[in-house]
């Protein structure tokens, strides 16, 4: 190697080449030449470095600086700044997630510094076309050791002792395989390498072939020596032209150096290696099929026994390992089995290369010690889930593998554990899926793959997987039937037991594993024709509406707003959700997170369009009502005037009933009025919509508390035929630390209720709010408005894990509220007089992943500290005192202690009692409560009349103009306008402002109209 001062190592793996690495490399050479630096800086085209999504990537040595996303235009700057002036080009280096902090050096980057590279030891570091570079990094030393100082038996023993297991999928101990073949008495034996790598998304083997082909060759020669083979084949898929080219090149060099062919290294050992190209049949990854294919036949598996170690290729003893397995051999021999076995777990030694793909920040190739926690692999190495979405599952092991849900992020990734969870290590494909992934659809995808790749020889695989696929497709199309899940399980389990080869035996895994971990999704598809993730598009018209618990026709009202037809828009909204104005202010808009426009230039601001729409309402108009004398005469009751109760009353009125609503408090609205502060929801807006419902025929009786002033039985005795219990979850929960009882400590709900209902409220100067949900933020912002000088929020997890909505947290932040995270209260401190003086807190750290998929806060190591406070508000949760409410009526409770109900109808175990909202689900959102009220109203009517009259569920397509052929213009989402901070923190004026008409209309017109011209199968239709 020439004496140069710097090396510019540019990755020329397949991924980086695809993103332009060769152009960058050429540009770099040109630039260096132009600046007469060619002698000082060497450009080396290496194999894969791993972070493929960041490509093209390059490493600059000796500094170890890692550049990513390099464009040809960046080259002069890198030369000028870095190579000449020694200054790092900051814009091209990695940043710590969520921060502006740069991490320029490879060892600072979590993606790299948690990896342990044995297989990929040279990849990205050496020039794969230069055997000398391989030799310079101890290449072929292991072979020399074997040929000069070891017997074949010793080699096998060493591999056996290392604990290396086959990296192709099944994880059979490599040494054992070699031992069997070694024991065969036969002059002709073969050693074979499986480089077929058919798993979708897997490219571990390709990277070794492209980046370090000699590591494979050396491993194979050693293996050949161990078992007594003199001929070997590398079976590589024809779709890997670059890998084939580099391997060919390496084979030529190895022959030239006497490392292949006759009398290798003068030892008398002969061995040669040939490449056989496969034509891309997945089944040819199965060892007997692979051998059949090398023999020149259609690649189909044959029954085992005989096992290949006895009778393999052309009936001769054969050993087949995959590329990664062979790449481990030389280091094991050179450094010893004990060294190798020191990495990994008890039963799974060494490292594993994974191809991270799907919804993960750093898609690419990583090599980590076996046994690394799945969570660490995905979040630390992989950088977590992009776009703020939640992790849903990771598919491990390719189409033969299974999904691991968030409950198991804690598990070590090793052979045994994965198998227990219904997944497999496989060849190392890890496909990460976020909340927008439908698990039924994923099962369909993998099954479709295996079905198409089945060789067709045995009926379980050929026909069985087809039948499974048909069932899964049916479910995805909204045509699932009762019993389909059981059919899938029965088919899947029997196929696993009866199929001829590994492909068939594992083909059902994706279905079985998704049923195991996500059965509720299958059930929702079948029973409710509902795809939670918004993927199975035959079941909904638009993803936004699908995500709306109240099923509002969102594209409909948005497009009407776009045409300035505000009355029609509002009417359409109130077809499914009466509380338009309320939702325009407080809805957490699950619709927006599913908006297709997000993938273009930002999700549509649906709530803000709604806000503008409701501002246009002049006179409240009543919706379509079915007048029915019989219904009007029937007595139906609604208990609680929160969003669920109001919604139920509204829809009951639309069916001609004249419901009576019983409300414990003197004001209607439930949590809307008691908990949500007026700066978010002006009371006049609430009153306007309550009045609308009253005008439709609802009577509200105030000051009537269930279980106190009346009981369910008393209602029945008074002639009420059906009752909707929507009493919410109105009790705040204590924190359970010493000092909690006494003045100065409130539960969040009581604190908010006090001010909101009575208009009075007092706080001290220093307020500490404990909790991370919306109630905590509401309490904190209310405290600020009530005159607190300092408000702190103490939360035991991280900010990213706070259950409160992001925009609320940001607003609190903006208003000067200090958010202290990873802090847990240990004690409320009081002075001698009992006055609160502060909160003794423990610093927390993140521990293992819990069942919610979040890292559990655990006690940190630092001593406790005190947060000074004279007022403590604990907003950590709410509950319902169900027995008190029921007062003996035998309504069964669910496992969380809330009222048990059929989620489709709200009907409880007592047939005339219905429930919904927080009383049934525990604290949830306003719009979920509204949806529950609608369902209950329809169900109560059906209960009373024997028929479903929910006419509003019909499919209404407002006649608005839309040109489906027009390309959407890029327009950023319009920002929300707010009162200035100074103008809002001292009062309860509404913070959010409405848009001007032109802004609202422009925003409405951003809608892509995913619903346009769509037919769908919904349960309701």
């Amino acid at each position: 190697m020439a004496d140069v001062r710097s090396h510019f190592l540019i990755c020329t793996g397949g991924g980086c080449i695809a993103s332009g690495a060769l152009d960058v490399s050429n540009a770099m050479r040109e630039e260096l030449k132009a600046r007469e630096l060619a002698g000082e800086v060497d450009v080396v085209e290496t194999g894969c470095l791993g972070p493929c999504v960041q490509g093209p990537v390059a490493l600059v040595y000796p500094d170890g600086v890692f550049y990513q996303n390099i464009k040809v235009d960046d080259v002069p700057e890198i030369v000028e700044e870095h190579l000449l002036k020694g200054r790092i080009v900051e814009r091209l280096v990695s940043h710590a997630p969520g921060t502006e902090r740069t991490q320029a050096e490879m060892e600072d980057i979590p993606f790299f510094n948690r990896q342990v590279k044995i297989v990929l030891r040279n990849s990205g570091i050496i020039d794969p076309l230069n055997i000398d570079e391989y030799i310079a990094r101890d290449g072929y030393q292991a072979l020399a050791k074997v040929l000069t100082s070891m017997t074949p038996e010793q080699v096998v023993e060493e591999v056996l002792a290392s604990g290396l297991r086959g990296r192709g999928g099944a994880g059979f101990p490599t040494g054992m395989k070699w031992k069997f073949a070694q024991a065969q008495d036969n002059d002709v034996k073969y050693i074979l390498c499986n480089a077929d790598e058919g798993d979708p998304g897997a490219f571990m083997d390709r990277s070794v072939l492209e980046g370090d082909p000699h590591s494979l060759i050396e491993g194979m020669v050693i293996g050949a020596f161990a078992i007594g083979a003199h001929q070997g084949y590398v079976y590589v898929r024809a779709e890997y032209p670059l890998a084939v080219e580099r391997l060919e090149h390496a084979l030529g060099q190895a022959r030239e150096y006497g490392l292949l062919g006759q009398d290798i290294m003068g030892s008398g050992f002969d061995f040669d290696l040939e490449i056989r190209m496969g034509s891309g049949a997945f089944v040819c990854g199965e060892e007997t099929a692979l051998m059949t294919s090398i023999e020149g036949h259609r690649g189909e598996p044959r029954p085992r026994p005989p096992f290949p170690a006895v009778s393999g290729l052309w009936g001769k003893p054969s050993v087949l390992n995959n590329v990664e397995t062979f790449a481990n051999i030389a280091p094991i021999i050179l450094k010893g089995s004990a060294w190798y076995a020191s990495t990994g777990t008890e039963s799974s030694k060494g490292t594993k290369v994974f191809a991270l793909g799907g919804n993960v920040q750093h898609t690419g190739l990583v090599e980590v010690p076996i046994g690394m926690q799945l969570g660490e692999l995905i979040y630390e190495v992989g950088g977590g889930i992009p776009n703020g979405k939640a992790y849903k599952a990771a598919q491990l092991g390719g189409p033969s593998g299974g999904c691991i849900p968030k409950e198991h992020l804690n598990v070590p990734v090793d052979y045994a554990t994965l198998q227990e969870l219904g997944a497999i290590m496989g060849s190392g494909g890890v496909i990460v899926m976020d909340e927008d992934t439908c698990m039924v659809d994923i099962a369909r995808f993998f099954l479709e793959f295996t079905q198409e790749e089945s060789c067709g020889k045995c009926p379980p695989c050929r026909v069985g997987t087809k039948r499974m696929l048909e069932i899964v497709e049916r479910i995805c199309n909204g045509e699932g039937e009762e019993g389909d899940i059981e059919r899938l399980i029965a088919l899947g389990e029997t196929i696993s037991q009866t199929a001829l080869c590994g492909l068939g035996q594992t083909a059902a895994n994706p279905v079985l594993s998704t049923i195991r971990h996500f059965r509720h999704e299958y059930e929702a598809h079948i029973k409710d024709h509902y795809c939670e993730a918004g993927v199975c598009s035959t079941m909904f018209k638009a993803r936004c509406s699908n995500a709306c618990p109240a099923s509002v026709n969102i594209p409909g009202f948005v497009s009407l707003v776009g045409e300035q037809r505000y009355d029609e828009a509002l009417k359409l909204h109130r077809e499914r959700n009466p509380l338009a104005s309320i939702c325009a202010r407080v809805c957490f808009h699950p619709c927006e997170s599913k908006c297709m426009r997000a993938s273009l230039d930002g999700a549509l601001a649906i709530r803000q369009v709604k806000r503008f729409m409701v501002e246009q309402e002049k006179e409240p108009q009543l919706p379509e009502i079915l007048h029915d004398a019989e219904n009007a005469a029937r007595k139906v009751a609604v208990v609680g005037s929160g969003p669920a109760g109001l919604s139920a009353a509204y829809f009951l009125c639309r069916l001609g009933y004249r419901p009576v609503v019983f409300e414990a408090e003197p004001k209607a609205g439930g949590m809307l009025v008691q908990a949500i502060p007026a700066y978010r929801l002006p009371r006049v807006e609430l009153e306007r919509e309550v009045k609308m419902i009253e005008d439709m025929g609802t009577t509200i009786e105030y000051g009537k508390a269930l279980g106190k002033d009346f009981t369910l039985q008393s209602l029945k005795d008074e002639g009420y035929e059906a009752v909707f219990v929507a009493v919410g979850a109105p009790q705040g929960m204590g924190i359970g630390v010493p000092g909690e009882d006494g003045p100065g400590v409130y539960d969040g709900l009581s604190f908010l209720r006090e001010y909101n209902v009575s208009g009075k409220g007092e706080v001290g100067k220093n307020v500490a709010v404990i909790g991370g949900g919306n109630a905590a933020i509401d309490a904190a912002r209310t405290a600020l408005r009530l005159g607190a000088e300092s408000v702190k929020i103490l939360y035991r997890r991280t900010r990213a894990q706070m259950p409160a909505w992001g925009e609320e947290i940001d607003a609190a932040d903006l208003e000067g509220i200090e958010i202290m995270t990873l802090v847990a209260p240990e004690e409320i401190l009081r002075d001698a007089s009992g006055k609160v003086t502060g909160v003794r807190c423990k610093e927390m750290a993140l521990g293992d992943y819990d069942r919610s998929g979040r890292r559990k806060p655990v006690a940190g190591h630092n001593p406790d500290f005190v947060v000074e406070a004279d007022t403590v508000i604990a907003a950590i949760g709410q509950k319902l005192d169900a027995p008190a409410v029921l007062d003996g009526t035998p309504v069964e409770l669910n496992r969380w202690g809330y009222l048990g109900a059929d989620p489709d109808t709200g009907q409880t175990s007592v047939d005339w009692v219905f429930t919904g909202g927080d009383a049934a689900t525990g604290p949830a959102s306003v719009v979920e409560a509204i949806g529950a009220g609608e369902k209950a109203a329809a169900a109560m009517d059906e209960f009373l009349t024997g028929a479903n009259h929910a006419f509003w569920r019909r499919d209404v397509e407002p006649p608005t103009y839309f040109d489906p052929d027009a390309d959407p213009e890029l327009v950023d989402r319009h920002a929300v306008e707010e009162l200035a901070v100074g103008a809002r923190v001292t009062n309860f004026d509404e913070v959010e402002l409405s848009w001007a008409a032109e802004v609202a209309i422009a925003e409405a017109k951003r809608c892509l109209r995913c619903d346009y011209g769509k037919y769908c199968v919904t349960k309701e239709s």
Partner: protein
């Protein structure tokens, strides 16, 4: 010798025995589908699944070697569930119009479903892609019925070595058929019908011509005569639940008469005639070679088997000259019926319909060859397989088992034992030797019971050599000569002999080839199911038929002699040449 237990029964079996075979030995019946004894045990269909203690999954007993100490269970819930599901899945892809399927009576899938107690079909869905290939005169393929068991593929590739059928495509779209989903007529298919013989369902069958026969019989203007091949009488009984190897010559004759044929004749007659012609042809070739020093093609190959002829035309066109120019007995019969016999009874050839009953599907092709019109019209009009005849007898409402034994009509129904053995491998050769010996030496054929033991039986390639002693007259040149003969059955074996000849490994004068394993008794048109055991039974029946005859040599057939006197003149003479001999064509080898 491994010892294992199967369902609690301990059995000791020879090394290399499969679990399926061991179970048979233990008296345990395991259902099978793709399995073909001695031919295919690839574990594809998964019907023969059993539970083996310690195995991760169920295993296919047909391919699982029996090992010492193995514990096998063939009747557990898991096994029953597995087998049931497998068969249910096959039923779900299969175009199961059983009521009208030609295979309903002997469909193995139907039997399996019944035996496994499959009640309702739990799995429904897309059916196998349906394509009807009726491109050949002999065979009809219905891919919709195929259950991809691979039996036909193995027989076509490994037994016949023709390579006309393959698995192609993947997944549910896997299709068994000629490469690139072509038709059989576009590929090297020799139409032997061995695929149809092993097909467990109705996916490959002979082209059904029953209606054509009924139409002819119903037509008062037609004289309809029938010939039955030598192999029919030893197999037709199986259509009526007789054990394999039961001879039903007399009942078959009676049935044909009751069906309304105007004359019931025997292909055996022209088998005897074939010996006269083909034997003479061989002697002439030998004379030309040995005496006249002429270049003649030797060895001479027999030419009775039309699948074999097709095979030669496709695969060994350079050796077409070695094939005897004699037509097959079927075609000799057709030519004579419509000339000699038609003249005799005063019927115009166009008013005569010649129906053949053959154990063979390739005969349908042969009869349709354009050159087979020596009488001026098509010589053989309709060819039925044994199976079709069985079906017709049933259609006619004839109670076969209670029929009397009747004799065939003269003159074309009279034959010798030499003609009978045309049905079995080695038979044509033996018949030829019986006659040739006596013509050359004018002394009785010296072999015990007239059988040439080395060329009998089911060995794939058999060879013999006969030393000529006492050659007389024109044939004196043969004195002391070693006549070397070879016999092959199954086209894979035939190719082996051809390769031996081409490579100079062996020298033969006369080689008999029958397309189907066992010869015509194992033909593609015979009642199913033909195993080696069945072949042996039919073969023994044929030899019994021969041995019970008074006349056992073709040249002793009085009506054959009369035919030469009255009509043909001498063997291989002018008229013979016109009526009884043919020529061959090279085919593309697609």
């Amino acid at each position: 010798m491994p010892t294992l237990t199967i369902d609690g029964i301990t059995v000791e079996v020879p090394a290399g025995t499969t679990v399926l075979q061991a179970a048979k030995q233990a008296g345990v019946k395991i259902p099978t589908l793709c399995y073909l004894e001695d031919v295919q045990s690839i574990g594809a269909c998964r019907v023969c699944l059993v539970e083996v203690e310690g195995a991760r999954t169920l295993v296919a007993s047909c391919s699982q070697p029996a090992t010492d100490g193995m514990v096998v269970k063939t009747n557990t819930g898991k096994v029953r569930d597995g087998r049931q599901m497998v068969v249910e899945l096959l039923l779900s892809e299969h175009d199961g119009d059983c009521q009208v399927c030609g295979r309903s009576a002997d469909c193995e899938l139907r039997t399996l479903a019944n035996d496994l107690g499959i009640g309702d079909l739990r799995y429904e869905g897309e059916k196998t892609f349906r394509m009807i290939d009726d491109s050949t005169p002999a065979l009809i393929r219905d891919t919709g019925k195929c259950v991809a068991c691979r039996r036909c593929v193995t027989v076509c590739n490994e037994v016949q070595e023709v390579g006309g059928l393959f698995a192609q495509g993947r997944g549910f779209a896997t299709l068994i058929g000629p490469a690139f989903a072509q038709n059989l007529s576009d590929v090297v298919c020799v139409q032997c019908g061995q695929c149809a013989a092993v097909c467990p369902v109705g996916a490959i069958t002979e082209r059904n011509q029953i209606e054509d026969v009924w139409d002819a019989l119903d037509d008062p203007t037609k004289t309809v005569v029938v010939q039955t091949a030598p192999a029919i009488r030893a197999a037709l009984g199986e259509c009526f639940d007789y054990a394999p190897g039961t001879l039903v010559t007399g009942k078959m004759t009676a049935a044909l008469r009751r069906m309304g044929f105007d004359a019931v004749f025997d292909t055996n007659f022209t088998a005897d005639l074939t010996i006269m012609e083909e034997g003479t042809e061989l002697l002439v070739r030998l004379k030309k070679a040995l005496v006249d020093g002429e270049q003649v093609a030797l060895p001479q190959f027999s030419s009775c088997s039309p699948g074999w002829i097709n095979y030669m035309e496709h695969f060994n066109p350079d050796m077409l000259g070695n094939l005897s120019t004699c037509k097959s007995p079927q075609q000799m019969f057709g030519a004579l019926a419509k000339t000699y016999y038609a003249e005799k009874i005063g019927v115009k050839p166009e008013d005569m319909v010649v129906v053949s009953v053959m154990p063979c599907t390739a005969k349908k092709y042969e009869a349709a060859r354009p050159e087979m019109t020596a009488s001026g019209v098509r010589d053989v009009d309709i060819v039925l397989t044994t199976r079709e005849l069985g079906a017709m007898i049933k259609q006619a409402g004839i109670d076969f088992r209670s029929l009397p034994d009747e004799k065939m009509d003269a003159p074309l129904g009279i034959s010798t034992g030499a003609a009978d053995i045309f049905a079995v491998t080695g038979g044509v050769m033996e018949a030829a030797l019986r006659t040739a010996w006596e013509i050359v030496t004018e002394t009785p054929f010296p072999f015990p019971n007239l059988h040439v033991a080395p060329i009998q039986g089911l060995e794939g390639v058999k060879v013999a050599s006969v030393k000529v002693e006492g050659a007389k007259g024109d044939w004196a040149f043969l004195e002391g000569a070693e006549l070397k003969v070879a016999v092959a059955h199954g086209l894979g074996n035939a190719q082996k002999v051809i390769d031996m000849v081409k490579n100079g490994e062996a020298e033969f004068h006369f080689i008999e080839v029958m397309t189907c394993p066992g010869g015509c008794i194992g033909g593609g048109g015979q009642p199913r199911f033909t195993t080696n055991e069945v072949r042996m039974k039919r073969l023994n029946a044929i030899y019994a038929e021969d041995e019970h005859r008074e006349l056992r040599k073709s040249h002793e057939n009085p009506f054959v002699c009369k035919l030469y006197e009255e009509y043909l003149g001498a063997p291989c003479g002018e008229i013979s040449h016109h009526l009884l001999h043919t020529h061959y064509f090279e085919h593309d080898r697609v």
